[in-house]
Structure formats: C-alpha cells, structure tokens
C-alpha cells in the first residue's frame, strides 16, 4: 500500500465503495461478504481491510462519498452567485438526493439500519454531517454579508441545525412514496421558505436573547431542581 500514491488509494477506495453499494443493492447488506466485495472490485481479500475495517465502515464511506460529490457538484454549479440563500439550499438538497437516487433502495435499508443501531454507527456518520456544516456556514456567512439575512452571533449553531435538517430531509425522502418524490420537493420548498424567513427576520438572535436572560436570571433555581443535571445527561447521549 505504501507504494501506491494518494490518488491511487483514493481511486481504489472509491471503487470499493461503488462495488459494495452495487452488491448491497443486489443481494442485501447481510448476504454480502467483504470477500465478495474485494473480488468484485478486483483487489486482494486482505487488501480491502486496509481501506475498510468492516462492512459498517463501508456504509458511512458511501455517505461520505456522496457528501463530497454533492459539495463539489454544488460549488461547480453555473450562476450560483445569482441564487438566493433559499435557492442555494434547495439546490444543495436537490443535488444531494439526486446522488442517492441510483441506490435508493440501499439508502432506505442503510438509513433504517443506522437509525436503529446503537449510537456507535450513528456517530460514525458524523463526519458526513460535518462536511455540510462548513459549506452551509459559508453560505450563511455570505448571505449575512450580502444583507440577505440578519447578522446573528449563532451562525455556527444555525449551520449545524441546517445540516441536521438535511438529514431530516433525507429521512423524509426515504419514506416518500409520492410520484417523483414530489412531496419531498414541496416539503423542502415550504420548510426552507419558512426557515429562511426566520433567518431574515433576525428572530433567532432575539429568541436567544430571551433565553439567555432567563438562564442568567434564574440559573440558581434551575441548579437546585436538578434540571441542569438532566440537561447534561441528555447531552452525553449525543442529542
């Protein structure tokens, strides 16, 4: 492996993921072995483990790949600068879901697995989420600078929220049985409209002001009630 260049390694990695997803789609996740994937991809039975320790890792490898491709395609889009914030986010989602489309069945199965499995696997998907956070933070910052939305000290939090929203959209899409997923399209259209409207109004900062006032003014009472303990406990579950 040391003799291979980074580029070559990346190509093999890509090939493994694509082969794995194709096999998972055809035979199912359980019925597909690492050996099968390696042979189909034309690499050694042992070599595959240098790239992916187990089948689970292949799943998030796939999600990571789609996220990277989506970001690249999004940034390469013509006339992106003419898009409004809402249109940009809508475009991002559109590209994202379109990239999943060829393997929709596998996506449905694997999403269900991820959502049902203990937090270990779920955490493994986190790198995917981080990638969009950066992209969305940039979009939000641009929109703030252009005066399209109100300045907010919580852009980072908003970016994370928007990123979770992407995951929520994916979940909705996976369960969408309308023709050409038009329900997802409309849901995204309407919910983004609302979301961007909220950002535009600057209500986020105002709401946070109010919350921090309450926290500061009533902190001691909270401490006495064990509420904070509960909050911390919840946080440790990754919520």
């Amino acid at each position: 492996m040391a003799r291979l260049s980074k580029q070559q390694q990346a190509e093999i990695r890509l090939k493994i993921i694509k082969t794995a997803v194709a096999l998972f789609s055809e035979y199912g996740f359980e019925a597909t072995s690492m050996k099968q994937i390696a042979r189909e991809a034309g690499i050694g039975d042992a070599t595959i483990y240098k790239y992916f320790a187990n089948k689970d890792k292949l799943i998030y490898g796939y999600y990571g790949l789609i996220a990277t491709e989506t970001t690249q395609q999004f940034l390469a889009e013509d006339d992106l600068s003419e898009y409004s914030l809402q249109e940009k986010l809508q475009l991002l989602i559109d590209i994202y879901l379109n990239n999943f489309l060829p393997n929709r069945e596998f996506v449905c199965d694997s999403i269900n697995m991820i959502m049902q499995s203990p937090s270990i696997l779920f955490k493994d998907v986190a790198p995917v989420r981080e990638e969009f956070v950066d992209l969305i933070r940039n979009l939000l910052n641009e929109a703030e600078q252009a005066g399209e939305i109100a300045q907010s000290p919580f852009t980072d939090a908003t970016a994370k929220l928007a990123n979770d929203y992407l995951l929520a959209v994916l979940l909705y899409w996976v369960n969408d049985d309308s023709e050409e997923f038009s329900n997802t399209t409309q849901m995204v259209d309407m919910s983004l409209n609302l979301g961007v409207e909220i950002l535009r109004s600057g209500i986020v900062s105002k709401a946070t002001d109010l919350v921090s006032f309450f926290v500061k003014a009533h902190l001691f009472r909270f401490m006495g009630s064990g509420f904070l303990n509960k909050l911390v406990m919840n946080k440790s579950f990754g919520l």
Partner: protein, 460 residues
C-alpha cells in the same frame, strides 16, 4: 425510532384541512337555520307588504350564508395551491350552476399562483429534459415573465437564436390533483346539504368528472404540444397565429414554444385602437371560436384576454392550448339547433315548445319535466340568461357596445331552475365557459361584427 413512524403523507394532512372546514361549514349552517327562522319572525311582525320584505330578508340571509360558505371553501382551496387555482377557474363559470356568491369566492382564488424559484426550475428541467437550463438554452431568464395556472412561463433563446417561451410546471402538481378532487367532491356534497341552490348530485358528479378529465390533460404538456400542432394544421382561417412547439425542448412538464411578439388585448385596448381595428380583431376572435366549434369540432376552452395577443402585423396570436375540448357531432347538432330557438323564445317570446324539445335533446331536462313545468318554473327563472345568450344572434350582425353583462343570478331568488337540471353533454361546461369568454372579450373590445356562424356549419 425515527424511521419506525411513517411520515404523514400530504393527502392525510390535506384531508385534515377539509375535515376542519367541513366541520366549520356544518356550524355555519346551523347558524343559518337559526337566522332564517329569526328573520322570518321579524318580517312577520311588520304589517306593510309582509310577503315582500320577508322574501327580501330571506334572500339577504341566504346570500350572507353563501358568502360565509364561499369564504370557507376559499380557505380550503387556497391551501391546496396550484390545483385549486385551476379548479377555481374551471368552476367560476358564470352559468348558474353554482350559487353566485360561492362562484365569486372561487374566482378570487385565481390570483394566487405559487412561484417556482430558480432551484425548482432547474430541478424540473434536469428531471424532465436531463439538463440544466444553462446547458439547454443559449439564454434562459430564470425570472418568469408570466404566470400560468399550474406553472410559469420563462423567456429563453435557443442555440439557433430562436426566441422561445418556456412553460415550466410546478413540481408535483399532478400528484396532488386526485386527492384535491376527492376533497372537492366532499365539499360539494356538503354544500348540497347546506344550501338549497346546489344542483342534483348527478349534475355535479358530471361537472367534477369533466373537470378531472380536463385537468389531467392540462397537466400533461405533451397533450398541449399535440393540441398546438393539431390546431396549426387544421386552422385554415387567415390571420390566426398559433405558436410552433419546440419538441426537442419539451416534455410532459416543460413546454418550449415559439415566442409570439405582440400585445395582450388589455394592453392593446389602452392605445385606443380605431373602431375598424376593433371590428377586425373581434371578427377574428369570433370566427376562431365558431370555426373551431362547428368546423373543427374542437375548441380552445380558455378564452381569457391573457391568452390572446394582437401581433405587430395585426394578426391574432392564440396561446395556451392546455384546455382543449372535442365536441361530439350530437352536441354540435343539438346546440346549433337550439340557438335559433333561444332567440325565438327568450327574445321574441314564441316557439317555446321547440326550445323545450331542444333542452331535452341537450339533456338539460329529462322526461320527468313536462312542458307546463318548463314554462312556469324553469323558463322564467332563466329568461334573463336566455336573453343574454340570444342577444348577439338575433340578426346577422351585432354591435357588442350594446351587449349587456351576463346575468349572474336568476331574476327571482328561488333558484328553482337549477333543481330541474338533470344533466348535460359532458362538453357543455367547457363550451359554455369558452362561449362566455368570447362574449366577454368581444364586449370588452366593443366590436361590431358579423355574428352569423352558420357558414361554419359542416354538412355530414
């Protein structure tokens, strides 16, 4: 976990919306009954001209009642976006099938059109034509220049430098139509129970079926493209221009066609055209309609001012062939046979039995209605409408500056006529709507034209 719960489909939440409105209408109806009893009591205490004032206040409260229901219907419809707009347009036929106040509410729904933003336009293009607007056209204006009822129209330039109008449909509008119509059926059913002016169930079932068929055609732009081609081939009248379809850039949800340059009739009228110009344009519109109806037996069923352009060389450009209706031979024969009798009966007050027979032939009334009932209950109720309908066809020419507006409401408020309505040919609603549109346009233009359509009648 998250996925174990099925996301609510939009149909469910939509039913919830109607459910709420249905409940509300039920309450309003209860209120109406109380008010009706109350108003009867009040008018009963007055000594002078009791009967008259009672009728009057009854009429008033009925109207209020209809308005309230209309408002609720509108609330429901406006939550359904595109489909509802189309439905409302189709339903706002001025013929007296639905109560006036309800029709008015439906009409006002026409102004709301859901916008399709840049990202959605791009999505629709990629989905339909496999590429982004940027790659498909030399230039593509992502701001729509005109709103269509279930989509919007963009200006574009092809790589061959042709100016195009590109109609893009709102994504998912087709998928929602069925559930929307089911809800509308529910609403109609309820309205029939709460106002005494709704037609028989069989009549509004027929109306709904017709609307459903037209809508399902209208959401398929391939059908519209075929209509455009068909009319282009068969329209032999001079001075009528129908845009050419750009098939390579069209699909079921995107329609690219030649951009016609001219002015919409409203705009053209602002420049005070001469009487002669008005007459010429009016004649073209009139001939276009009757030639389509009687010779081609297929009509453009959406004749509102926005769908006609006065081109720079004074030719008439016809747009939007989404709603086109074929007319059966029987209907055309029946209708052409009826028109002279409309004139005779309503304007010259003679030959009513022939009109009675015509109404039967057109299936408006069935054999349970005898001539006496027709003459005493139906005829007076729709006399004003009949006069209005016959007006333009009394002689071979007609000056539309003297045209009276279409009476929206029968003379008396009893609304009995509609109760006798037993049915009609399925093309009747579209035909009526198109004919009404024509009359309104000609009146707006103030044209003085030859209204003898008999030259277009084809002999079998």
């Amino acid at each position: 976990m998250l996925t174990s719960k099925k996301v609510p489909t939009s149909k469910l939440s939509r039913s919830a919306i109607t459910g709420a409105a249905v409940a509300k209408i039920g309450l309003k109806h209860a209120g109406y009954k109380v008010r009706k009893a109350f108003s009867a009591k009040i008018s009963g205490t007055k000594s002078s001209d009791t009967k008259n004032s009672e009728a009057k206040s009854n009429e008033q409260s009925q109207q209020q009642h209809e308005e309230q229901i209309g408002e609720l219907v509108f609330t429901v419809l406006s939550q359904l976006r595109g489909t509802a707009i189309k439905l409302s347009q189709l339903l706002s036929m001025e013929t007296d099938i639905l109560p006036e106040t309800i029709r008015n509410k439906l009409k006002s729904a026409c102004h709301e059109v859901p916008p399709i933003n840049r990202a959605l336009v791009r999505k629709q293009m990629v989905q339909e034509l496999g590429n982004t607007p940027k790659q498909l056209f030399k230039e593509f204006d992502s701001k729509a220049f005109s709103a269509a009822s279930i989509g919007q129209v963009h200006r574009a330039l092809s790589f061959n430098d042709e100016n195009l109008a590109v109609k893009v449909q709102y994504p998912g509008i087709g998928a929602t139509i069925d559930s929307d119509l089911k809800m509308l059926e529910k609403l109609f059913w309820l309205l029939a129970k709460t106002t005494n002016k709704m037609p028989k169930q069989q009549v509004f079932t027929l109306l709904l079926t017709e609307i459903k068929n037209r809508l399902s055609e209208e959401i398929n732009y391939e059908i519209e493209a075929n209509n455009l081609n068909w009319f282009q081939q068969h329209m032999k009248l001079n001075g009528i221009v129908i845009p050419k379809v750009k098939h390579a850039l069209s699909s079921a949800r995107v329609l690219s066609m030649e951009m016609l340059t001219g002015q919409h009739i409203d705009k053209w009228l602002e420049n005070q055209p001469s009487q002669q110009q008005r007459n010429e344009l009016g004649q073209k519109l009139f001939d276009f309609f009757w030639y389509s109806a009687l010779t081609l037996k297929k009509i453009h069923a959406d004749p509102h001012p926005g769908n006609f352009l006065v081109l720079t060389d004074e030719q008439l450009g016809v747009l939007d062939f989404g709603c086109v209706r074929s007319l059966s031979d029987d209907f055309v024969d029946g209708f052409t046979a009826m028109m002279p009798k409309i004139v005779d009966s309503y304007i010259f007050n003679k030959n009513k039995s022939a009109l009675f027979a015509s109404y039967q032939a057109l299936k408006f009334i069935d054999h349970s209605v005898d001539f006496n009932t027709f003459e005493s209950k139906i005829f007076p109720d729709i006399q004003r409408y009949g006069q209005w309908l016959g007006q333009a066809y009394v002689s071979k020419t007609f000056d539309f500056t003297t045209k009276t507006p279409c009476p929206g409401k029968p003379d008396n408020v009893s609304g009995t006529a509609v109760k006798f309505l037993s049915g009609m040919y399925s093309e009747q609603p579209c035909f009526d709507r198109a004919h009404l549109g024509l009359m309104n346009l000609l009146t707006q233009i103030g044209a003085n034209i030859n209204t003898d359509y008999s030259k277009f009648i084809t002999v079998k």
